[in-house]
Symmetry: C2
Subunit: 349 residues, 2 copies
């Protein structure tokens, strides 16, 4: 398994909608971590070009993350009411499958080292088709029950995402009654039901947190927000400025109709009543968000951020990856000493 | 500081309302951890007796935890409406200070090794009075801002409580807009603003999680739910049975008017609309909860539980404490190896 053989146990989170770039993915893989291409919101042809760009820049393994199309039942009247309240700049709400079949065809034809899935579990046959084509298949889970089911579907590793995570929550269902688990509790509950390698995600923004999730049973830490200030990231300048501040984050459906975590801004506060309705609401708000980005208005678009965003640091991605790994090692050594292991040697990584 | 000199970095969480007993506190301290007396909901005379019982059973250090009286503004009409909906078994809603002054007088007169505070920050003068009397003073925090303020008030250590925690959330304010942070992100955010020793709390139910919070910068882990099945705990049998199951937990104000985490049951589902109003609502539901306990009805009283409750194990408290510490050490060693530290020796704790 690739994740167990990485020089540094650091996986870049796929961050659809801007921050993820081929340069970022390649830089993380080249540095000894694992880069990811965010296929969400992309057409298959764009994905093909992005994969080619990563391959151009690195010969090391990388992953591609797909959104599993939603089959949630949407209350279309409620969604229509919300879109009307958004005003005249709103786009037309609609469902689509995010070019699902075309992207899968591409990945069957030109397999990548790892394919991961978010928002649900791909069917058993698809998982085995991709595995047969030479990819490792990872599935994002947020509960022990989802972990169990993903294992049955043939997943070879699990991205275990806690409630601290920025951007969309990966829960397969998005109801108000879903128990949203803190990462540490979630990791231990999942580790109790599966032997698959776990990739911990959610609010991990420094090396001590990376070390902590390894101790809690993860094979690697997946880092999103803490790479959003990387030079290679495509993060909008107004978003970068917000990440460096200490604004509170909250969960919201205002931007996409699916629960996601962002830094609280005016759009979120004014649209607390946003109903479930993904991807319909995503398409309705897309032109409004594009326009706000154009105006550099951080109150008008989604400032996705994990709960520890204030700890994110600027720099080249390779430097961030190495620092996280080195700080993780130092933190683990210190804890070993506290627990009576006084002879952990100082070795170069 | 006591917390840094414990044989095992394991602190028992004070669990007011039943689970905490002098036997449990003494057993944890005797085992090499740190036991706690839960002074909440107790009269000063009962607290005096409980402290005496712990001192009878152990000469090792222990702590006493106090609820800081609420000065929240309560909408009394809204609370009255809620209590009416509770029906004829409800008690009279009222405010009190939980015998605050009498308990403080007791602790000044007969100092204990550690006094901790929940639900707010005691004033600077009080902190220094208790310190002058020979106690170490700890304050529970749930954000970097609270940590900063507690440090200014003279706290010598901080209990850092994540959203995963069972029972009452220790946040100083209980509004719907409070950002509730996952433990790992919270620990790192707090560690960035203070050098005080941190005691990590919230959803820590096994040794790997204990190891993880030490790596994340904690001096010790505070364990609540994972001690609720201990032989010495006063946990109700119906509550014990629920803890061993895999019922989801949720945050609720239904039982006390203050946000707390419990295993979802009928009372919680039927009273999603419970308003803020602590301790008024606590007094209103108290007779109803007592009656449900009497009938062994787990749907009628508060099944406080952290998010990882399914991992709690039965046994003598001393055995639980030792297992947590040993498993923590093994988990830290494994992570050190993954990070390239291959020479962590196998030493007895």
């Amino acid at each position: 398994m690739i994740v167990q053989e990485l020089q540094y146990p650091i996986v870049q989170a796929p961050m659809a909608g801007g921050p993820s770039t081929p340069e970022l993915a390649a830089a993380v893989s080249e540095a000894g971590g694992l880069g990811f291409v965010a296929a969400g919101y992309r057409k298959a042809d764009d994905l093909r070009a992005e994969i080619a760009a990563v391959r151009q820049a690195t010969s090391r393994p990388f992953g591609v993350n797909l959104f599993v199309p939603s089959d949630d039942t949407i209350d279309e009247e409620v969604v229509r009411g919300y879109v009307e309240r958004l005003g005249p700049l709103a786009g037309r709400p609609r469902w689509d499958d995010d070019d699902w079949q075309a992207k899968l065809a591409l990945l069957r034809e030109e397999p990548v080292p790892i394919v991961s899935f978010t928002f649900g579990c791909p069917p058993h046959d698809l998982v085995h088709e991709l595995r047969g084509a030479g990819s490792e298949v990872w599935v994002t889970v947020s509960s022990a029950a989802e972990a169990h089911e993903a294992g049955h579907a043939g997943a070879q590793a699990l991205i275990v995402q806690g409630v601290e995570a920025g951007g969309h929550q990966g829960t397969w269902q998005d109801g108000d009654d879903v128990e949203r688990l803190g990462l540490l509790a979630l990791l231990r509950l999942v580790a109790a039901v599966t032997d698959l390698p776990l990739i911990a995600a959610g609010g991990i923004a420094d090396g001590a947190a990376v070390g902590a999730v390894l101790v809690a049973g993860a094979a690697a830490a997946q880092i999103g927000t803490a790479l959003m200030l990387a030079h290679e990231a495509g993060t909008h300048p107004a978003h970068r400025a917000a990440l460096a501040g200490d604004g509170a984050t909250a969960l919201t459906r205002a931007f996409t109709g699916r629960t996601a975590r962002g830094i609280v801004n005016r759009f979120m506060v004014e649209h607390r009543d946003a109903p479930p309705g993904y991807p319909h609401v995503h398409y309705a708000t897309a032109p409004m968000r594009a326009e706000a980005r154009q105006r550099d208005d951080p109150d008008g678009f989604n400032l996705w951020a994990g709960q520890a965003h204030k700890l994110a640091q600027e720099g080249p991605a390779a430097e961030i990856v190495r620092r996280l790994a080195e700080d993780a090692r130092a933190a683990v050594r210190k804890a070993a000493e506290r627990l009576g292991d006084h002879n952990v040697p100082e070795q170069p990584l």
